[in-house]
Structure formats: structure tokens, C-alpha cells
Symmetry: C2
DNA sequence: CTGTTAGCGCATTCAG
DNA sequence: CTGAATGCGCTAACAG
């Protein structure tokens, strides 16, 4: 019994054939007769050789079957977010089907350079918290695709956030409403607050600002104006931030009659807080969400929201990356009217 | 401007030094003067060389800084399970601190051999659905650690499942109770069902069977016996399976007065179903969970359950792996008495 | 269909 | 502290 791991060369010697033959048996079936190949594979199994060393293959071939999924934030945060984890689901399913491996990469990492040499490509889900990563992605030579944000000349997957926000807002807002918005990453602040006159960040690239545009357009059409003191910023789509913001909104005077939330997590937290305070939804308070997460289905009353299929996004992203797609795609969404808007 | 990527050799030539010097500048600071090193690093940055090629380093050094996290099931499933995703959180946090990368590996994959050559080690979370993977882990030479199950001679992280189950059951069961158990992976069936006389699987290694033992011991002490027709098997800790099982349990006659659930997801689903049917918890029905997930905190009445910190498990697993730990560890748990047991 | 050879890009001896 | 040489394990050309 050999102690040290067998190499292709060892095996070739033991079987009395050349290294190329062994290599071909594993990698290029068409380069030798079926019988020969099967014989070799069998012999290899018997002597405990399970195929060419992958590390060497990565160097030699320049491909590894590893795809890096660059998340917007830390893995810890992303994995507990229902929207992100659903996206990961879509990505992983597709990658597994194609025999690819999934490397999770945090968006708050220093740099992407320590994996670029051995991964086959990048899927970037959301603008990375460390925005330098986005620049590195753009500069680096491996295929990449972005989701829910854009980098010039990099293929992407998005929905029409402006239109989606417009539609859901239009379903909620009525004449004479006092409208508030619970937004995500609108300004550069680590805590929940009203945006007032703080400068908006990333005004062009951010999906949050596209959504804000949609909300405001719908409001305008309904003849309602929304001042900045009615617009909240939350640093993350997180229950704790949401609870705090919900409290602020519900304590405001006058209390808004419609609150447009940029995620279902936020909307659900607001809904629960409102119910706990004995507020009648939707008669006293209308609420809209965004995303269409599963938990929203379990809430009563049913949430009015925009359903975007994160699984589809993940699948689309993985497929597009593997297929070498270069275009930017816009995926559809569904407006779902629940019971949190309109009078009963 | 070079089109092709710079190699260490190119850089050495350009800077007029030897390749070893460049290599040392990046990898072994002690091998050259600080000034020299900083000068070289600066030059490298200026000409756009970001360091030695990682793929080549993997081959040469035999390490990659990649740790594979082998999940019990498909990534798609695991990532949406609150317990598993919390575990991933713990693992990823620790790995990121130590500059390691996280490769997610599905437990229903064919084999582990296609990554063994380039990862530095394995963390196995739960017995993989394809149990062959466990054997491969045992046979392969890289460091590995298992969590929530065991492989002979492989270090592991576990809690005392028997004791935990015993304690939570003991807190719930009262004399003359009719007790039912909603168990996980007790028999080899893809659907929810009572176990009756079906042969139990994996009787030794499975944590489910340890929990079952604990439940039964507590019942016995209370003078209650639990027949097999009062024990359900669920293939996964999944809301849909749980809902179905909950329905069966609540429709049973006589209806159990205590139901011991092997996960909080199951327990919460049962709780919701019971409330929807107007059943008084805990006066007409006592419920216990297992895991201590966040969602259980939000439920009313509060769930009585076993809190095991999945984050700690993840951290412990990653640390133990990186530290070369070889022992098997038993982590503590907490019995949390909520309002779903005992009379009010 | 098979065997020989030249690197993939680097880290590490070992002299100097 | 530096430079030349060796090979990590493999694949792709190419020649037979």
C-alpha cells in the first residue's frame, strides 16, 4: 500500500502506458478506444487512483469549475436574509446541475484578487458594501455578471425597479393620503433615520433610488406630495431596523395613511407593529412591501407587494454566466394585491 | 500596456531582480529588508502586479485557503433552513476573520473527490444525504470535522441530544398525558407518516434517534408510554411536511395532550395549526420544539424548546478545523421554558 | 490510437 | 540578502 498519493505518472508506470493515455482516459474519451478507456478506468479504481489532481488541473487548464458568488454584504448577513438566500438557492441549483462549485464571497471583503486566479467567474448579487470590489470585477478578465445593480460593460440581471415601485405605489395611494416611505440605503448612515436634506448616495446606480423615483411618480400622479421628512432610510432590510422605523412612523403626527416599504421584511414588521397598536390595516393604514417573500404569504392581512422571483434571478444569473451571455437582462415582476391596501 | 497578465517572472525581469526576491517580498517578509520589500511592493503596484498567481500557489504550496462546508442536503434546501443558515453564519464569520474562503458543498452530491485536491479541509454539517460522502471524508487525507453527527476518528462538534430531548420532554409531559412525537428522519421514507413498525434507520449515528431515546426516557419516568403509532416521521424540517403532520396529529383521536417536536419549525407549524383550530395551548395541548430559532421568539405563546447556538457551533467547527483540533467536543444547550407547556 | 516533451506560475532549496 | 535550478501534477501539441 502506498502511503503517498498516487500521481498520474505513477499510475502510467504501474499500468505500463504513457501519461497521456491515462490523462485522455479521464478527460478526453474520444482520444482512445472505449474498451481501452474502460479498462484503464477500472485499473485506476482498483489501485485507488481517483483521477487527475484538481489543483494541477486548475493551473494547467486555467479553469476550476468554481464560481464565486459575491454578495452585497457579509455572508453572515446575507445568508439570513430571505431574499438573498432565495437567490443563492437559484444560483446553487443551476451550478450544481452544471457540475460547478459555489464559493461564497463577502461583499465587505478587502479585495477580490485573492480568488480571481482560480475561479471561473463572478456573480455579484447587489452592489457590494465595499464598492471597490465592483471596480475590481470590472477590471478583471474573468466572466462576470451583476444582479440588482450595474457595472458598465458587465452583463446584468435586473427588474425594472422604477416601474415596479410605481405600480405598487399606485395601487396603494389615494387622494389626500399622507404617504411615508421606508427606504433602503438611501443616504450614507449606519442607522435608521429620516433623510431630510441629507445627500442621497449612489443616485444613479442604486435600485433604491429607482424605487424611490417610482414611488414619487405614482404619488405625483395621484396628486400627493411626499416631503423628505416622510422618507426614512434603513441601512439594511433587517427586522430590528425595521421595528424601530415602524415605531417612528406610527408615532408620527399626523400618522401616515399609506406607508410604502422597500422590502417585505420592513413591511411585515410595520404590519405587526400596527396590529399590536390596534391600528386597522388597511382602513387606517395602508402598507406595501417589495420582494414577495414566502413569509409575506403567511401574514394576515396578506401583504400587497411586488413579487420578484429571486430563484429565477439566481438561475438566470448562473445560466447567463456559464453561457457567456453579454447582454443586460430585465426580468419581469408581478404586482400582488393583498389586503393591506384599499378599503374593506 | 501589457495585454497578457503579468507573471512573477515578468515582474522580476522588469524590476531587474530575481524571481525569488519578488516571491519573498510577497510571502516571506523576513527574507529581505523592510525597505527593499516596500520598494518592490510599490513597484509591483505601479506596474499592475497584484501578487503571485493563486492557482499556481495552490499547486505549489498544496494549500488554497478554501474550506469546504459539506451540508447535509442540497444547498438550496440548507440555505433556507434557519438552523443551517445560522450555522453557516458562524462558520463564515470565523473563516472570514482568518482569511479563509468558503466553498459550499451539497450533501447530495456524487462525490467529494472533485474538490479534495484543492481545499484545505472539510466541515460536515449533518450526516450528508448521500452517505457515501461521509465515507469519503473519512478516507481522504485533509483535515475534517463533523457537526451534529459522527464519523469514527474524525473530530466533531455535538450537543448531548439525548439529554436535551430528555429535559425538554420532562418539562412538558405530565401523568396521564397522551404524548405524540413529531420526529425527523426516523425511517427511510420520503414523506410524512407514522413510523409504526418500520425499521428505524441509522439507529446509532442519528441525532434523531438520540432525541427519541431522550423523549422516551422522560416519558417512562413520568409513567407514560408512547406507542409507535404516536410517533411521526418527517423527511425534513420543512414547513410543508410539518403542516401535514400537524394536521394528522390534531385530527387524531384521542388528540394528544403533549406533542414533542424535533425542530422549532415543526413545533411552530403545529402551534399555528392548533391556534387556527381554536385549541388552547398549553391547556389543551402542550408543545415543545428543538433548536431555539429566532422565529420562535416571535411566536405567541412562547415556545418551550432547547436552545442550541448554531452560530457557536459554526464558529467552534471552523476554529477547531483551523486549529487542527482532533477531539470530539460536546457543546452546551439551554432548556427554555416558554408558555407552550404547563397550565396557565 | 499512443508516447514524448514542454511548459502552466510559482516556492523553495542551495550556493554564493 | 540574492540568483539559478528543480519540480508541484498535469495537459496539449506534436510526432509517430
Amino acid at each position: 500500500m502506498n502511503k503517498t498519493k498516487l500521481t498520474l505518472k505513477d499510475v502510467a508506470q504501474q499500468l505500463g502506458v504513457s501519461t497521456a493515455t491515462i490523462s485522455n482516459a479521464f478527460n478526453r474519451p474520444d482520444q482512445l478506444s472505449k474498451a481501452r478507456r474502460e479498462d484503464i478506468l477500472l485499473q485506476c479504481e482498483r489501485i485507488g487512483y481517483s483521477g487527475p489532481n484538481k489543483a494541477a488541473q486548475i493551473l494547467r487548464k486555467g479553469t476550476s469549475n468554481i464560481v464565486a458568488l459575491v454578495l452585497a454584504d457579509s455572508i453572515a448577513y446575507m445568508v439570513s436574509d430571505p431574499v438573498a438566500s432565495t437567490f443563492i438557492k437559484g444560483v446553487s441549483t443551476t451550478l450544481q446541475q452544471q457540475g460547478k462549485h459555489l464559493l461564497l464571497y463577502a461583499g465587505d471583503s478587502k479585495s477580490i484578487l485573492d480568488v480571481v486566479d482560480f475561479v471561473d467567474g463572478f456573480i455579484c448579487y447587489g452592489a457590494p458594501r465595499n464598492y471597490k470590489l465592483a471596480r475590481e470585477i470590472a477590471a478583471q478578465p474573468k466572466p462576470a455578471i451583476t444582479v440588482d445593480f450595474d457595472i458598465v460593460d458587465v452583463p446584468s440581471i435586473n427588474i425594472d425597479n422604477e416601474d415596479a415601485a410605481y405600480q405598487v405605489a399606485k395601487a396603494a395611494i389615494e387622494k389626500d393620503d399622507v404617504v411615508a416611505i421606508l427606504g433602503l440605503r438611501l443616504i450614507d448612515s449606519p442607522s435608521t433615520c429620516r433623510i431630510y436634506d441629507n445627500p442621497l448616495i449612489d443616485t444613479d446606480s442604486s435600485i433604491s433610488h429607482r424605487r424611490l423615483d417610482g414611488y414619487l411618480r405614482a404619488a405625483e400622479e395621484k396628486g400627493v406630495s411626499i416631503q423628505n421628512e416622510w422618507i426614512w432610510h434603513l441601512p439594511e432590510s433587517d427586522r430590528n431596523y425595521a421595528r424601530q422605523a415602524a415605531k417612528e412612523v406610527l408615532m408620527s403626527s399626523p400618522r401616515p395613511s399609506t406607508v410604502l416599504c422597500m422590502s417585505d421584511i420592513i413591511a411585515l414588521e410595520l404590519l405587526h407593529s400596527a396590529i399590536a397598536m390596534g391600528i386597522d390595516v388597511p382602513n387606517e393604514l395602508k402598507i406595501t412591501g417589495f420582494d414577495g417573500i414566502e413569509e409575506a404569504d403567511r401574514a394576515r392581512p396578506h401583504l400587497t407587494t411586488i413579487c420578484q422571483s429571486s430563484v429565477s434571478k439566481g438561475e438566470a444569473a448562473a445560466k447567463a454566466l456559464l453561457a457567456g451571455e453579454v447582454r443586460k437582462q430585465i426580468l419581469p415582476f408581478d404586482l400582488k394585491i393583498g389586503e393591506t391596501v384599499g378599503k374593506r
